[in-house]
């Protein structure tokens, strides 16, 4: 393309990043929120009770088992999710027997109130799950089309990451140079710092993102090399599952799960239990699987303990076997999802995701700042393309966060018994985004930036207040009840609001700064002209 390799890669990096930058911004932001999807869901279901601090696992298991015995009598598969730092309520689930002609039955689950032992009736909401699923399952499009669009965008992201490294002669020295407040160099430095600081993350998240749909994207290769049975076998080798007991239709009495739990307690160090799965419940073949929080990036067979629910004996299960390539593949999944992450690692994941989002945003802004001086000189105003990019930047970089806040507003303000409520929460989000994308078309860019930043600050700071007015699960109560997960959500909203308020203030200050300095230059010039005129007059008079 250009004279040398680095020059062509620079050109390539610019355009690859621009073409899908806004979709990537959307994917990165909603994906980053996914690291806290359980916490978000918890906030969006304010009917659920506060976290209970002084209750033992045995008590919790008993409450869950009583509930299951009452409500899921004739069911084979049960599971119990214990309250954790992330999902703060007791949740039970069960799978109904399959209907005629279907392979698997319907899955039902409910949150159990520890105090009453009854189901908590929550409002219909998509929760954090719907929000984070948007980052690969673009909301209104069909599954297949979104996977291909997401794949195309991820591929361009991978190219942008690789070319970004290639065009950097001095990747480490550049990292330590930061020239703030200088217009173009400022944005370039910000882009560089955000890219370099989390480079391994950017590469990992993009490559592993592509791996999720590896067999969709590269279907031709597997189709040419395997037949249907072989393909199924290959999938089993790559994603192995632990086999579980099947029912024999001979009823038997199970030992209480809280008693069986002693077995798991003996083999683990601390109180780490997270999930219990029961297979072939109340059957002579009944088994209970105790699962603790994932502790490793790769598979750890000690994370689960299998117990015979009739005799109470531990079952030594053969650990799953992974191939070397399978370990790498599943390791990338694990890194992408961060299921193993504890509270601190989860926050680091969250901020690193935000760094990725900000990197994309700074790259998009850089495209316009670089072209601005030239575009402003054009007699008919800036080109259509330039204005389009600028408008999409404003509408996405500030507009999307506002739209996400509107998703939370919809959760609090839409009528509880509204038909199709889950979809309308999402509709509110996308309608707001669409409005904010159109709005900058009718305003000068400077004003649009400033106004949308102000709006973002307003909606984020007002959200916890709306929460106080509409529910009893607001910041004051959650702090009093020491429900840190819930409190952290409201506090994060306030923090994000303050960041937007600060950027709005800073933006105003910077543009005013520029304007006054420009006016001063103009005045100087006009003063100079007057002096010149006087001089000319004088010289004319003399002549």
């Amino acid at each position: 393309m250009k004279d040398n390799f680095r020059q062509s890669m620079k050109w390539f990096h610019t355009w690859v990043g621009l073409i899908v930058g806004w979709i990537l911004f959307f994917m990165f932001l909603t994906g980053t929120l996914g690291y806290f999807y359980q916490e978000i869901t918890r906030w969006m279901e304010p009917e659920r009770p506060f976290i209970e601090h002084n209750i033992s696992n045995e008590q919790l298991i008993n409450i869950a088992q009583t509930y299951l015995k009452k409500n899921a009598q004739d069911v084979d598969e049960w599971d119990i999710d214990l309250p954790t730092a992330r999902n703060q309520n007791l949740r039970v689930g069960w799978r109904h027997p399959p209907e005629a002609g279907k392979k698997r039955g319907r899955y039902e689950s409910s949150v159990v109130d520890i105090a009453t032992g009854e189901k908590v009736e929550s409002r219909a909401t998509g929760g954090g799950r719907l929000l984070y699923r948007m980052h690969y399952r673009l909301h209104y499009l069909s599954t297949k089309i979104s996977y291909w669009i997401v794949g195309f965008c991820s591929m361009l992201m991978l190219l942008a990451v690789i070319t970004g490294v290639v065009i950097h002669k001095k990747i480490f020295t550049d990292f330590f140079t930061f020239r703030a407040k200088k217009g173009l160099p400022g944005w370039l430095d910000i882009h560089n710092v955000l890219s370099v600081i989390a480079l391994p993350f950017h590469f990992m998240i993009t490559y592993s993102g592509l791996l999720f749909f590896l067999f969709t994207y590269m279907a031709l290769s597997t189709n040419l090399q395997t037949n249907e049975d072989e393909y199924r076998e290959m999938r089993k080798e790559i994603y192995p599952r632990t086999p579980h007991a099947q029912s024999t239709n001979q009823p038997a009495k199970m030992i209480d799960i809280s008693v069986l739990y002693q077995q798991a307690k003996n083999s683990w160090q601390a109180d780490e239990l997270s999930t219990i799965e029961v297979f072939a419940a109340n059957d002579s073949n009944a088994q209970v699987r105790f699962v603790r929080h994932e502790t490793d990036i790769t598979y750890n067979p000690n994370d689960e303990v299998l117990v015979n629910a009739i005799t109470g004996e531990m079952i030594t299960h053969t650990p799953r076997e992974y191939t070397a390539a399978g370990i790498i593949h599943n390791g990338f999944f694990s890194l992408h999802e961060g299921q193993f992450a504890g509270p601190i690692a989860r926050w680091i994941y969250f901020f690193t995701g935000l760094i990725g989002t900000a990197m994309i945003a700074s790259g998009l802004i850089l495209w316009t700042t670089k072209r601005k001086p030239q575009q402003m000189k054009k007699p008919n105003g800036p080109d259509f393309g330039y204005r389009l990019v600028e408008q999409l930047n404003i509408g996405t970089i500030v507009g999307l966060p506002i739209a996400i806040a509107m998703y939370f507003y919809a959760n609090r303000l839409l009528p509880i018994d509204m038909a199709d409520r889950v979809n309308w929460e999402a509709n509110v989000m996308f309608i707001s985004w669409a409005l904010l994308l159109v709005y900058p078309a009718f305003r000068p860019a400077n004003k649009a930036w400033h106004e949308q930043l102000q709006l973002a600050a307003l909606v984020y700071i007002a959200l916890p207040l709306v929460n106080i007015l509409t529910t009893d699960k607001h910041l004051i109560n959650s702090l009093l009840q020491q429900d840190w997960g819930l409190a952290a959500f409201d506090l994060t909203l306030l923090g994000v609001g303050c960041c937007f308020a600060f950027s709005a203030y800073k933006y105003k200050a910077l543009t005013v700064d520029k304007k006054t300095s420009r006016q001063r230059v103009k005045q100087d010039k006009s003063v100079g002209n007057e002096k010149l005129l006087q001089l000319q007059r004088v010289s004319k008079g003399n002549g």
Binding site: M9, F12, L211, S221, M234, E237, T323, G326
Partner: protein, 106 residues
């Protein structure tokens, strides 16, 4: 129609970028597939059939990325197309020969 055809100027830079983009997207995808076939067949006897295919697939995105970058770095679009086709033919023929070889030996 003829007016439209006459307006296509094959030497214009826009056409060159378009041609390169097609080469990168479709030629690169073909290369990703053919290279994964080749790697799959090459490693067949060393790591087992399924893992061999899997390793080929794991590399396919990196091959794709490198191919796309390379397409935009060579001096002209025609050269990019010719080299891509050559590489694809090499991998497909290589994979086919390996397939014959394993069939005979097994």
């Amino acid at each position: 129609m003829s007016y439209l055809l006459n307006n296509i100027n094959l030497s214009s830079p826009r056409w060159a970028v378009f041609s390169r983009s097609l080469a990168a997207i479709f030629g690169g995808y073909a290369l990703a597939t053919s290279s994964s076939l080749f790697i799959g067949q090459l490693l067949l006897n060393n790591v087992g059939k399924y893992q061999a295919i899997h390793i080929g697939l794991l590399f396919s995105f990196l091959v794709y990325a490198c191919a796309a970058m390379w397409v935009f770095s060579v001096s002209n679009a025609t050269k990019a197309w010719i080299c891509l086709i050559k590489a694809n033919v090499f991998f497909v023929v290589g994979a086919w020969l390996l397939m014959q070889f394993t069939r005979v030996s097994s």
